[in-house]
């Protein structure tokens, strides 16, 4: 049998395979160049970018939990200008699509970051992180309110000609409602899930472990929640989906595709194994070979339920 066809096209972005790296877990790509072939994976997503450089939260910022980890990095990043000057030139030389993950602290900031990225060569698409508090509106998180999400996505859409991926928060009663709001507002694809809000306590010191008190839960622990949400959204919304949450190996990744994802992102797994993204793509291919499946695309949404 010839090698299976692993390629997918996501919202117009052609990828050699469905494996992307998740925002905030792969730096700006270069950090992992020693551990895997950046040209072996489907796409790279940058750390979340904001208009100005952002310092992030005080430390401790991370803590391990059972089967997962909490992070409260606070979206530390170099800012959009430094990204363009310092990070993008390196990435342009890598023959793998780069998705710029962006966020804002106000509605307007979202729009400005998006327009700054528009027209930039070397950025194949943008992923909008709406799991951020709106500082102007008492801190309510954009991604937990359908109205606010719609506003953000519409604004970004007006400011970009690039494929627009919206990344959904799992901390909601009805993820389908949020997905529909983003679809209506012009999203070209949806990625899910971002982290679940959690907390860890240091019993002896009687204090939260994280300086920020709460943080985002990621890793294998959240996979069942992520799979459920991808499946729910896939049934209700026609947009292509990117499955994220606790993907550690090729089988995990393929499960997300069965649930309806066109591509997947590898997050926490890259900390355990910096070559995880490449390994996962290989394991997926290997599974296809063993099962005699010709194209990975035939698995998208192929769950019998």
């Amino acid at each position: 049998m010839q090698r299976p066809d692993m390629s997918v096209v996501l919202a117009g972005i052609p990828m050699r395979n469905p494996v992307m790296t998740a925002s905030g877990t792969f730096g700006y790509g270069a950090e992992f160049a020693d551990y895997l072939d950046l040209e072996s994976i489907g796409a790279m997503v940058t750390k979340g970018l904001s208009l100005k450089p952002k310092a992030g939260n005080p430390t401790p910022r991370i803590v391990e939990t059972q089967g997962g980890m909490l992070n409260a990095i606070g979206l530390q990043n170099v800012g959009i200008d430094a990204f363009i000057e310092q990070k993008l030139p390196y990435l342009k030389n890598v023959n793998t699509p780069v998705i710029a993950n962006l966020y804002g602290n106000t509605l307007e900031e979202y729009g400005e970051v998006a327009s700054r990225l528009d027209g930039l060569a070397g950025v194949a698409g943008i992923e909008v992180n709406i799991s951020c508090p709106n500082v102007k509106q008492g801190g309510i998180v954009f991604g937990t309110d359908p109205g606010a999400a719609k506003e953000v996505v519409s604004l970004v859409k007006r400011n970009t000609s690039k494929p627009l991926i919206v990344k959904l928060s799992p901390n909601v009663t009805d993820v389908v409602l949020m997905a529909k709001a983003c679809a209506d507002a012009g999203a070209d694809a949806l990625s899910l899930i971002n982290t679940l809000t959690g907390m860890a306590i240091d019993l002896d010191r009687r204090r939260p472990v994280l300086a920020n008190v709460t943080g985002g839960l990621s890793g294998p622990a959240i996979k069942p929640v992520a799979l459920r949400m991808v499946w729910q959204v896939a049934k209700a919304v026609k947009l292509p989906l990117i499955g994220i949450g606790g993907i550690m190996n090729g089988r995990d990744a393929l499960e997300f595709m069965l649930a309806g994802a066109t591509a997947i992102q590898v997050g926490t797994a890259s900390f355990l194994d910096p070559s995880a993204a490449q390994r996962i793509a290989q394991e997926m291919e290997q599974y296809l070979v063993e099962q005699g499946i010709e194209s990975v695309r035939s698995l998208i949404g192929a769950l019998e339920a």
């Binding site: 730096g27 950090e31 551990y35 310092a55 430390t59 991370i62 997962g68 990095i73 910096p274 070559s275």
Partner: protein
């Protein structure tokens, strides 16, 4: 580098302290003292993350058994403090672990002829041994100031002495060496023409950094932080740089910009 390493030996050198030797590829011979390894203690999700340990030693030997030429190894010296190190301590010759190494920025050894002053507290002695070995190989004069809560915390002193390092010991309870803080002993000896290399608990590093700045003695400190990735990607391990303020934040990654810093790069309390 990332590779599967075979445990060669794993010995309890002092109550609750273990020294583990692991096989490594040849390239590791060029690792710099102060660099560290990130080790996955098992292939389960519990514990989830890798654990960081300083390089205690790097070297090579010819195994007894046939079929393997010179075998490069690296060693770590670790204290059992929780879940991960407990699992580590149960590993045997022949078990496999996954390593990332050499990570981070190591010690800059400085010009020849200075007196090299090593200051270590407890398990902070670990990276100093490999440093002492390299310094002695260059023919430098090396003094070690080692501290701990009690005698069990003062590790591998004989090994340092065997290298030709002059050692000074202090323990909180006086069970080995002087009673008191090692920084007090250090203070009495410190003078110009020296270069400090320190690793240990933050309060100790704090005291050493201040002392060195007062005396104008160059000082490098090896820091610890809770780490997830070890390669500068997650931004979990940051520390405040010297000029950090809430308005003009200046964070450094311990894993990538460190773990060894010039003491004046960081903010001390």
């Amino acid at each position: 580098m990332q590779f599967k390493s075979m445990v060669i030996s794993n010995v309890e050198v002092s109550p609750n302290y273990f020294r583990m030797r692991m096989s490594a590829p040849e390239e590791l011979a060029s690792a710099v003292p102060g660099q560290f390894v990130m080790l996955k203690v098992n292939d389960a999700i519990d514990p989830l993350l890798r654990r960081p340990f300083g390089l205690f030693d790097v070297g090579s030997f010819v195994p007894e058994y046939a079929g393997c030429g010179t075998q490069v190894y690296c060693e770590i010296l670790y204290k059992v403090v929780g879940k991960g190190t407990k699992i580590l301590s149960a590993l045997h010759h022949g078990d496999l672990v996954d390593l990332l190494v050499p990570l981070g920025k190591g010690f800059q050894m400085g010009p020849a002829g200075e007196e090299k002053v090593l200051v270590g507290g407890g398990v902070g002695l670990a990276p100093l041994y490999y440093l002492a070995k390299e310094l002695k190989q260059r023919g430098e004069k090396v003094r070690l100031f080692a501290g701990g809560r009690n005698r069990d915390d003062v590790l591998c002193i004989t090994e340092f002495e065997r290298l030709g390092v002059e050692t000074y010991v202090a323990t909180d309870d006086g069970t080995l060496g002087e009673r008191g803080f090692v920084t007090q002993v250090l203070e009495r000896h410190l003078g110009t023409g020296m270069r400090i290399f320190a690793c240990g608990p933050t309060p100790m590093l704090n005291a050493v950094a201040k002392m060195s700045q007062k005396l104008g003695v160059p000082c490098q400190v090896s820091m610890e932080a809770y780490m997830a990735c070890g390669v500068g990607a997650c931004l979990g391990c940051v520390m405040k740089g010297a000029n950090h303020s809430d308005e003009t934040p200046d964070y450094r990654c311990v894993c990538k910009d460190g773990p060894v810093f010039d003491s004046f790069e960081l903010q001390w309390s």
